[in-house]
């Protein structure tokens, strides 16, 4: 009898099962609490599982029926969903902030919905070696070239109105965590005249910069040791630092919502058609046109050739390797084909230090004439510091290991000299990142390569890629869709200057 009672209780607990059941007595334990006794019989247990499985099986049945009907996308050949599409209009190689900025602006400027099919190919989904996320994240207008100042001003304008550009209706507003603390450059006697020239260029371009004498500097920032400083240049507005990962994700999220296809894979090969032309002196010139890009899936031998009309090289530190695949740099020495893309990775160290007595909330991004820099990180007395190494002691770029000896020898003495409070500090963390270093003149290369008709370059920014990324993205989108620069004229940054060997050097004090 009790077994029947227990069975009825079990049946009643199954939802939707139509059985008329008399209300049975529930077991009550001596403690006055209700317990449903567990039966040890296997019959009801299996029946219970059957009903739980029934729902899942009905759902699977419905899915199979929907797939069998016409109009569904089921096919017996299982395709890897991570492969890029077979055809695209524009393939952007490199998923850093420059690559996604170009993708966003291409979609922003297309005249019709779905006008250009853009695919962004990124080799590393974890972004472990990408320069974007390992950057210190600063933006400044204190350059000597007008183009650089305009790029920074435009990027600051973009970041001020970032929610207007990159905001999505059903998502949180973008918070870049922009610290409006400004940059402070210190100059000694030898380079003070360069700083004054740069100051007038910056004011002419519209940047809000002010010059400070050593006494004014000491008054404004009492923790600075003004020994050897003759002039200081302080940015009042649109300068500071922000979170690069947030900017990257904001670009990515907005671009994907506008229809850009993201693909994780490595570009290993190109298929080109070559047009052989003959110059008046009888030499041959090979003009290539990229027909398709071979994208290899990560950790796999699977690949997909993507037919494309335009390829954008935004691969950052690895752009040189990409152009080598096309034969740039492997021609005869005195021809255009013999000039390689002068972009190579250079390792830079960033150290996080903790100093409890250090400068407070008003710490700017201080850059000394010796090359040592530091900025505040958070509110807990942490700072980020580093220095650009000399040409002779460039570290090895095969890995991202940090050299702590470098801090003790090169960074700490400079820091302690400039800010006496930094004599007592502790290194809490460090990382290394690559600069996409332009060995020719340390400024970006933007434009079509002369020998490859449909490859646009947007690389070689040597540490300024992040701060110029919104404006550079817009410029490259204008080049591709409008044919020419419309807002900022960056024709001085084309590949031509490398062919004619006319460097556009930044006359900076460091």
């Amino acid at each position: 009898m009790s077994a029947w009672r227990r069975l009825r209780v079990k049946l009643r607990s199954v939802p939707g099962f139509l059985v008329s059941i008399r209300p049975t007595q529930r077991h009550t334990s001596p403690y006055g609490r209700l317990t449903l006794c567990r039966s040890l019989s296997t019959g009801s247990h299996l029946r219970n599982e059957f009903f739980k499985d029934l729902e899942a099986q009905l759902a699977a049945f419905r899915k199979k029926a929907a797939d069998a009907l016409p109009g569904s996308s089921w096919s017996p050949l299982q395709i890897n969903p991570n492969l890029p599409p077979e055809r695209a209009d524009i393939v952007i190689v490199g998923g850093g902030v420059v690559g996604w900025s170009i993708a966003y602006w291409l979609k922003q400027k297309e005249m019709v919905r779905g006008g250009v099919r853009v695919v962004v190919v990124e080799k590393d989904p974890t972004y472990s070696q990408a320069s974007t996320v390992l950057s210190a994240g600063g933006i400044r207008q204190q350059f000597s070239l007008l183009e650089n100042i305009h790029l920074s001003l435009a990027s600051a304008d973009f970041m001020r109105n970032i929610n207007e550009h990159l905001g999505l209706l059903n998502e949180d507003p973008v918070d870049l965590q922009f610290n409006q603390s400004g940059y402070l450059f210190l100059a000694n006697e030898e380079v003070a005249h360069i700083m004054e020239e740069n100051y007038s260029t910056q004011r002419y371009a519209g940047a809000k910069v002010s010059l400070l004498s050593p006494t004014q500097l000491k008054q404004k920032f009492p923790w600075v040791n003004t020994d050897g400083v003759v002039l200081a240049s302080y940015g009042l507005e649109n300068e500071g630092w922000f979170d690069p990962w947030t900017l990257l994700n904001a670009f990515r999220r907005k671009a994907i919502s506008m229809g850009v296809i993201q693909c994780y894979g490595e570009v290993t090969d190109f298929k080109c058609t070559t047009n052989v032309l003959r110059t008046s002196s009888g030499d041959t010139v090979d003009l290539k046109r990229i027909g398709s890009v071979k994208v290899q899936m990560p950790n796999s031998l699977e690949y997909q050739p993507v037919e494309c009309a335009i390829v954008v090289n935004a691969a950052g530190a690895f752009s040189g390797k990409l152009t080598e695949m096309l034969g740039i740099g492997s021609g005869p020495k005195d021809s255009i084909a013999g000039i390689p893309l002068p972009v190579e990775p250079r390792k830079r160290y960033v150290y996080v230090v903790h100093c409890p007595d250090g400068p407070g909330l008003d710490t700017p991004f201080l850059i000394d004439y010796s090359g040592v820099y530091f900025r505040r990180e958070g509110l807990g007395g942490n700072y980020i510091a580093g220095v650009s190494p000399e040409e002779a002691e460039e570290p090895d770029t095969s890995n991202l290991e940090v050299d702590h000896q470098f801090f003790e020898e090169r960074v700490w003495p400079g820091l302690a000299h400039r800010v006496p409070a930094f004599e007592k500090l502790k290194v809490t963390s460090a990382w290394a990142g690559f600069y996409d270093y332009n060995t020719f003149d340390q400024n970006g290369i933007i434009g079509i390569h002369p020998l490859i008709n449909n490859m646009y370059l947007a690389t070689g920014f040597s540490g300024h890629g992040l701060q110029h990324s919104p404006a550079v993205g817009r410029a490259v989108a204008e080049l591709i869709l409008d044919g020419n620069f419309k807002t900022i004229d960056l024709s001085n940054f084309s590949f031509r200057r490398i062919l004619t060997q006319e460097p556009m050097l930044e006359k900076n004090i460091v």
Binding site: R113, N170, D172, Q180, N238, D362, L379
Partner: protein, 253 residues
């Protein structure tokens, strides 16, 4: 006095309406039914998405129009009258240097034109509380280099970039009130470094700063001559709340 209280009530209604504008799911309560319905439709229909983006674009355009550069007024009436007219059009208030009476616009936006009598008099105190002034609108006030007081209480469009632009008043500004502004964060407060003449600063009830106690201490260190008012923050430690929860659970067992 009563007039200003009445205006404050109107402004708080405006603030609540504007604050509900961004549909973030991380807000305290889930958005109302019609908002959720619109979001549901936005994710499924391009038309709804387009209409909603047009609507937000329209509100943005209206805001930018209100904060436009009053170039014609400047050309015909001079810089000071232009700034005064801008303030009154945005329903703010101001006081001329050397005068003791304040010129205000009422809730409907009506104001008296007596301020036109004072030509070429710079402004000394400006009260833009609960108005929609933003970074673009500040260009109309930049000419007032002898501005002493600036009140921006409860302004929904004042953000960090606005604070950074206040460096144009670095010599003259003595009092700044930026309490209850929802968009100001710690990064913007660092920009107040440039206001070296600041004597009174009010940073009460800023919802955007994460650890208010620490930030206030750092601000006081950064501006030693300034008297900082910072009310409306809950300085209780979070650990106390956790202990209360544990006691509650133990009692239930």
């Amino acid at each position: 006095m009563m007039n200003s209280l009445h205006r404050c009530c109107q402004r708080s209604a405006l603030l609540l309406h504007v604050a509900r504008r961004c549909w973030s799911s991380s807000s305290a309560s889930p958005p109302p039914l019609h908002t959720r319905l619109l979001l549901f439709l936005t994710q499924r229909f391009y038309d709804v998405e387009m209409l909603l983006s047009w609507r937000s674009q329209l509100t943005r355009n209206q805001l930018q129009k209100k904060n436009a550069y009053y170039g014609y007024t400047q050309r015909f009436y001079g810089l000071d009258i232009a700034s005064a007219y801008f303030i009154l059009s945005l329903k703010g208030g101001f006081r001329f240097a050397g005068q003791s009476e304040w010129f205000y616009a009422d809730q409907k936006g009506k104001f008296s034109w007596d301020f036109l009598n004072h030509k070429d008099t710079p402004l000394e105190e400006v009260d833009m509380s609960y108005t929609v002034i933003n970074y673009r609108g500040l260009c109309n006030l930049e000419s007032q280099r002898s501005l002493r007081t600036l009140k921006l209480r409860g302004c929904p469009e004042v953000d960090d970039w606005f604070l950074a632009r206040l460096h144009v008043f670095q010599d003259s500004l003595e009092e700044l009130d930026i309490s209850h502004c929802p968009r100001i964060t710690t990064g913007g407060l660092a920009a107040l470094r440039n206001l070296k003449g600041l004597k009174r600063l009010d940073v009460s009830s800023l919802p955007g700063i994460s650890s208010p106690g620490l930030v206030i201490i750092l601000l006081e260190e950064m501006l030693p001559q300034c008297q900082i008012t910072a009310t409306g923050y809950d300085y209780n430690l979070n650990e106390a709340e956790g202990e209360e929860e544990e006691e509650h659970m133990q009692r239930q067992r």
